[in-house]
Amino acid sequence: MLVRGENLSCERGGRLVFADLNFALGDGGFLQLTGRNGAGKSSLLRLIAGLGEPAQGRLLLEGAAPDVPLCQYCHYVAHGDAAKTVLTVRENLLFWRDLLGDGSLDAGLASMNLTALADYPAALLSAGQKRRLALARLALVQRRIWLLDEPSVGLDDASQLLLVALMQNHLATNGLIIAATHVALGIKPHQVLHLGGTQ
C-alpha cells in the first residue's frame, strides 16, 4: 500500500498554510513531519485523515480496495484525546472498538499499560494517562495507516518506551506511520518532511 500526496496545498481560515507539498510513503514506512509551530503539520495530518480538503493537489492511496476511502485505513490521534470524561477507560475503548471494527480490549488496555486504570472515569486521569488512553486506540483496532500528532507529549519514560514498541511493531508488520513531532520519538524516521511555514 502506498500513500502519495501530490503538490498538496492547504488553506485554513482563508490563509494559505502550505503549498506544493509532495510525499510518498510505502509499506512499513515512517514519515516524520517537522516544522515550526503553525507550519501546518496538524493540518496535513487532518487532510490525510479526510478531515479537510486540500485547496489544490490530491491525495492518492495505491494498492487498496478502490471503494474504501483513505480515511478508513487510518488511525488519527490528534492533539486532543477524544475521550469522554464521564466514561471509564474501558467504556471509552469499548466504544471505539465497536465503532472502528474488531479488536481485543485487553490488548488495547495492555498496550499502554492502562489495565490497572481500566475502571477509572477518564475525568480522573492525569494528563499523561489521558494521552495513553488516546494512544491505546492504535493497538485496540488494526488499521494500516497511523497518523500521530505529537504522540509522545505528556508520556512518562515507561510509556514512551511502550509507544516506541507499538510503533516498531506496526512498522514491522508493514504498517505506515506519519507522525508530527517536535521531539525525537525514539525511532529513526525513514523520511522527514519539513514544513517551512510561518511562525
Binding site: 481560515g13 490563509r15 494559505l16 498554510v17 485547496a55
Partner: protein, 240 residues
C-alpha cells in the same frame, strides 16, 4: 477550467440581457400601476384601501417565488454541482427578504383598517413571519461561516429544509380558520376576483418578477466579481 468558462459565459449573457429586462420591468410597472390606481374600482367594502392589494399581493407572491428559486438553485448545486447555483441562491436571498418585508409591512398596514389590528397571529401571517425568519437565517449563515465551501453547503441545506414553509404559507389559509383572504387567484376552478382588479394584479405580479430578475442578475454579477478577487488574493497572498 470549465468551472471558470461557465460563469464568464453567464456574465456575457447577463450584460447583454440586462438593459432589455430593465425596460420591460419599467413598462410593466407603468401599466400595472395605471391599472391599479387608475382603472380598478375602489372595493365596495374595503374602499380605497383595496389598492394596497396591488403592492401587497405581488410582494407576497414574489417573496414565496424567490425562496422557491433559492431552494431550486440549492438542489441544483447539490445534484449538478453547477458553479453558478450557489451564487444564484446566495444573491437571491436579500432581494427575497425585501419582498417578504414589503408583504409584511403592507399587509399589516392593510390589517389595521380591515381587522383593527396591525398584527394577528393567524396561520398565514405566522407562516409568513417564519419565512422572514428563514430569509434572515439563510443570510446569517453566509455571514457566520467564513469558509466559503462550508458556508455554501450549510446554506443549501437551510434553503432546502426551509422550503416546506412555502406550501405551509400557501395552504395555511385552508388549514385552520384564518382572518386572511383565501386564495382567490391561483385556485382550482379559476380566479374569483373581478376582472378589473385581476389584470392589474397579474401585471404587477409580472412586474415584480422582472424586477427581481434584474436585481438578481446585477447582484450575481458583483458576487462573481468578488469571488474572483478572493481567489486571486489567496493564490497570491503571502503565506499568512
Amino acid at each position: 477550467m470549465q468551472q471558470f468558462a461557465n460563469p464568464t459565459r453567464f456574465l456575457k449573457l447577463a450584460n447583454a440581457a440586462l438593459p432589455y429586462i430593465w425596460i420591460i420591468t419599467l413598462a410593466l410597472f407603468a401599466v400595472g400601476l395605471y391599472g391599479a390606481l387608475g382603472t380598478a374600482p375602489a372595493d365596495y367594502q374595503q374602499g380605497e384601501t383595496v389598492r394596497i392589494m396591488f403592492v401587497h399581493v405581488p410582494a407576497a407572491w414574489a417573496a414565496m417565488m424567490v425562496y422557491s428559486i433559492m431552494a431550486l438553485a440549492s438542489a441544483m448545486a447539490i445534484i449538478f454541482r453547477h458553479p453558478l447555483a450557489d451564487v444564484a441562491a446566495k444573491t437571491a436571498a436579500p432581494i427575497g427578504a425585501v419582498f417578504c418585508f414589503l408583504a409584511l409591512a403592507t399587509g399589516s398596514l392593510w390589517g389595521k383598517p380591515m381587522w383593527g389590528a396591525w398584527w394577528v397571529w393567524d396561520a398565514r401571517l405566522t407562516s409568513m413571519f417564519v419565512l422572514m425568519l428563514l430569509y434572515v437565517g439563510y443570510i446569517a449563515i453566509w455571514q457566520a461561516i467564513e469558509e466559503p465551501s462550508r458556508a455554501a453547503m450549510v446554506a443549501r441545506i437551510v434553503a432546502l429544509v426551509g422550503f416546506i414553509n412555502i406550501p405551509i404559507i400557501k395552504f395555511s389559509v385552508e388549514w385552520w380558520n384564518s382572518l386572511h383572504q383565501p386564495a382567490s387567484v391561483f385556485r382550482i376552478g379559476g380566479p374569483t376576483i373581478d376582472r378589473s382588479m385581476l389584470w392589474p394584479l397579474l401585471v404587477m405580479g409580472l412586474a415584480y418578477t422582472f424586477l427581481f430578475l434584474a436585481l438578481h442578475l446585477v447582484s450575481m454579477r458583483s458576487e462573481l466579481g468578488a469571488r474572483k478577487m478572493r481567489n486571486l488574493l489567496i493564490a497570491r497572498g503571502g503565506r499568512s
